[in-house]
């Protein structure tokens, strides 16, 4: 009797497996040359004079590994910690080339114990899981119990310098890692992965008026999409960098990352960061304030122009002068990719992932002037619903509002969505739909496509 009953189940299971074989698949990271990581054309031709020297020096600094005092061999960057997520800009921004995003192998595993550090690798960091930073939406006690009346949202760095050979008297008696397992047990932890920074100078040089014009152009659309902008709290102009478009400029972006991700205080973010618990108590332990502040600053005694700017300014320079990723089509898939491009527009993806803007005149280098910016983003923040909400407020961006992720270079990215929860593009697409999301109708359109059409759309995205 039992056998007879299970036969239909087996048949149904086989049917599902067969159907699965026909479902659209993500072909994965496309091969070929990276098509990214190089300087803009006029930078490569050193116009104006000296700009290539700035790019090259900035690139070197971007790859530099930091240590606490900058005195360890091969680790000449100064100011690591006392808390950090990794030890170099390149740790987070290297796929498929320098300036990109998370590599397949996560350097944060090695960072935990580098140079004698005694950190425990948190449960969410694995060798193959992609670089991550963690935030606690709410202030929590030592056991991890969140206080739901006290929003937090700050980055909780993974590691401390305790135990490192260059940490001096900053030992585990004075500083400790956050209680990540407690946060997990209370669902009080969310993650972010690095954003790629290719083509950032082009994004920086799009005029606010053009962004507003695009926003206004979709009013009354048949998809229920609205969107708004995150704005600088200082001057009210549109901010555009980071997962929630929380950073106004590349200098701000790099200054924040230098302090938050690597623990290097600088001229934009001038203090070492205590945790909220430390701030409520006696503050960051004096034993862990190893260097004079700020650790990165303008080098007023430098003898060359290129050596004078701070690291934060030069990181911004590197990002600004990187050319954008270039679409590459697999010759065997060209008809599919061409059809996928049409479907991208017909489904309505382009209502947010706007294929192209144009920059205004630039006084930095000609490649940034009146240039097409094929970033596939409107740089607006949109409600993405409860399924993606992280309950972090940043500027005007609320709990479920995220900047439309630029899709240029998506063909060579490994991890998707703000927290890197998937490496599967079809899953990333359908994750756009949930309660309160602006993308629900677009995903309904996507779901109405045939399997072949969905595959064409995926192939198109992987060509970008």
């Amino acid at each position: 009797m039992k056998v007879r009953r299970s036969l239909p189940l087996i048949a149904f299971g086989t049917f599902l497996i067969v159907m699965q074989a026909f479902a659209q698949v993500d072909p994965g990271v496309r091969g070929g040359i990276p098509g990214a990581g190089d300087p803009l054309p006029t930078v490569a031709s050193n116009s104006p004079a000296n700009i290539l020297t700035f790019f090259s020096d900035a690139k070197t600094r971007f790859q530099e590994v930091a240590s606490v005092k900058g005195q360890l061999s091969g680790e000449s960057g100064v100011g690591l910690g006392p808390r950090y997520n990794s030890r170099s800009c390149a740790s987070c921004h290297s796929q498929p080339a320098l300036g990109g995003t998370s590599l397949a192998t996560n350097p944060q595993v090695a960072d935990a114990t580098a140079d004698g550090a005694t950190n425990t690798v948190p449960y969410f960091i694995t060798l193959t899981g992609g670089v991550r930073e963690a935030r606690f939406p709410y202030v929590a006690d030592a056991a991890g119990n969140p206080d739901l009346t006290k929003p937090d949202g700050a980055v909780q760095d993974l590691y401390t310098i305790a135990g490192r050979t260059d940490a001096g008297s900053c030992t585990s008696a004075f500083i400790s890692q956050p209680n990540f397992t407690g946060a997990r047990d209370h669902n009080n932890i969310v993650f972010r992965i690095p954003t790629p920074v290719f083509g950032s100078g082009l994004m920086e040089n799009i005029d606010d008026a053009d962004l507003i014009d695009f926003k206004n152009s979709i009013v009354g659309n048949s998809l229920g999409i609205a969107g708004t902008f995150n704005r600088s709290g200082n001057d009210g102009t549109i901010s555009r960098f980071g997962w929630k478009a929380q950073n106004k400029s590349l200098v701000m972006f790099s200054g924040e990352a230098y302090n938050v991700e690597m623990g290097v205080s600088n001229e934009l973010f001038t203090q070492e960061r205590p945790t909220s618990a430390e701030e409520r108590a006696a503050g960051l332990a004096m034993q862990c304030r190893v260097n004079k502040m700020p650790e990165d600053h303008t080098n007023v005694d430098a003898t060359t122009a290129v050596a004078t700017p701070s690291d934060a300014v030069m990181f911004a320079m590197f990002m600004r002068l990187l050319k954008a990723p270039v679409q590459q089509m697999d010759p065997t898939k060209i008809p599919s990719i061409v059809n996928g491009e049409s479907l991208f527009a017909e489904v309505g993806c382009n209502k947010c992932h706007n294929p192209q803007f144009t920059t205004v005149e630039s006084d930095i280098t000609n490649s940034l002037s009146n240039a097409p910016v094929r970033l596939f983003s409107d740089l607006e923040i949109h409600h993405m619903g409860t399924g993606l909400a992280d309950n972090i407020l940043q500027g005007n961006a609320g709990a479920d509002q995220f900047r439309t992720a630029p899709l240029w270079g998506v063909g060579q990215r490994i991890f998707f969505l703000h927290d890197g929860r998937t490496s599967n593009l079809p899953f990333a697409i359908t994750s756009h739909s949930s309660t309160n999301s602006e993308a629900n109708a677009v995903i309904s359109n996507y779901n109405a496509l045939s399997t072949t059409q969905k595959q064409d759309l995926i192939n198109y995205l992987r060509s970008l």
Binding site: N145, V219, N396, G398, N436, A441, S444, N445
Partner: protein
């Protein structure tokens, strides 16, 4: 600490829940209906603000709720779907369109004019009568995907109320569109005045934090010139409180009708 006691004190942040709000809608009084407060009951979508009762197509199911009202005055009121077709019910507050639009007909004309050239027009915008009301209908399709859109919009209490039937199952779309004849849409409502400047007394709200955001505010003004109802479509909590406090002190010239109008604070 005993285990039971620990569990008692244990707090878990709810999953898939928006706990910490940014800019969000707000009201001066919860009793007065607002556009976003629709509900499904007895297979009909009902919305007290519009006086709308819409029969959900047979076999179609309610989809996840849409986003909150936008700072440009757009609402996603509801979505219902079958496997390859859906209807999206939206409203655009005509007080807050970024570019001036007087009515539903003009809004649809603007949508038509901006439609990408590679879409194929199936039916140019034209006036139709549905359930005794004037609607404006526009239909188009996409050549590669086979998606069709039938857009029907009508003027309803200071808004363009729009039903968009979309999908690849044309028969399902046609049937659902035909079902629109069974909707009812009626309500005694204040008179809509897009720019009502008969202000006698006003005081500006004071914001303690600068967000540089746009704050659309829909107000109902009583015959005595007092503000009866305030609906903020998108505002941070401290902005909502400051605007409501300020507007309660505003006085307009007395009028023989109740007036519904829009004000924009912030940027």
């Amino acid at each position: 600490m005993p285990l039971l006691l620990m569990l008692w004190f244990s707090v878990v942040v709810p999953k898939n829940t928006i706990m910490i709000k940014g800019a969000a809608p707000g009201v001066s009084d919860p009793a007065t209906p607002v556009p976003e407060d629709g509900r499904v009951a007895e297979r009909r979508y009902r919305n007290d603000y519009f006086g709308l009762s819409y029969p959900i197509p047979a076999g179609w199911s309610e989809q996840p709720a849409g986003p909150p009202p936008s700072d440009g005055g757009s609402y996603v009121l509801a979505q219902f779907a079958t496997s390859r077709a859906y209807v999206l019910v939206t409203a655009q507050d005509l007080f807050f369109t970024p570019r001036p639009v007087a009515n539903a007909k003009e809004l649809l004309a603007a949508v038509r004019s901006r439609l990408d050239a590679h879409f194929e027009i199936e039916s140019e915008p034209r006036e139709v009568t549905i359930a005794g009301r004037t609607f404006h209908r526009f239909a188009y399709k996409a050549p590669h995907s086979g998606l069709h859109w039938h857009v029907l919009t009508t003027d309803a209490r200071c808004h363009a109320l729009t039903f968009t039937f979309a999908g690849t199952d044309l028969a399902a779309l046609d049937a659902a569109e035909a079902g629109l004849q069974a909707l009812s849409l009626h309500r005694d409502a204040p008179r809509c005045v897009s720019s009502y400047d008969a202000i006698v007394k006003k005081s500006d709200p004071t914001f303690t934090t600068q967000h540089f955001n746009t704050i659309p505010v829909r107000v109902i003004i009583g015959k005595d010139g007092r503000v009866k109802h305030i609906h903020l479509l998108s505002a941070f909590p401290e902005q909502s409180a400051a605007i409501i406090d300020a507007l309660k002190t505003w006085r307009f010239a007395p009028n023989e009708d109740e007036i519904e109008t829009g004000l924009v604070f912030g940027r």
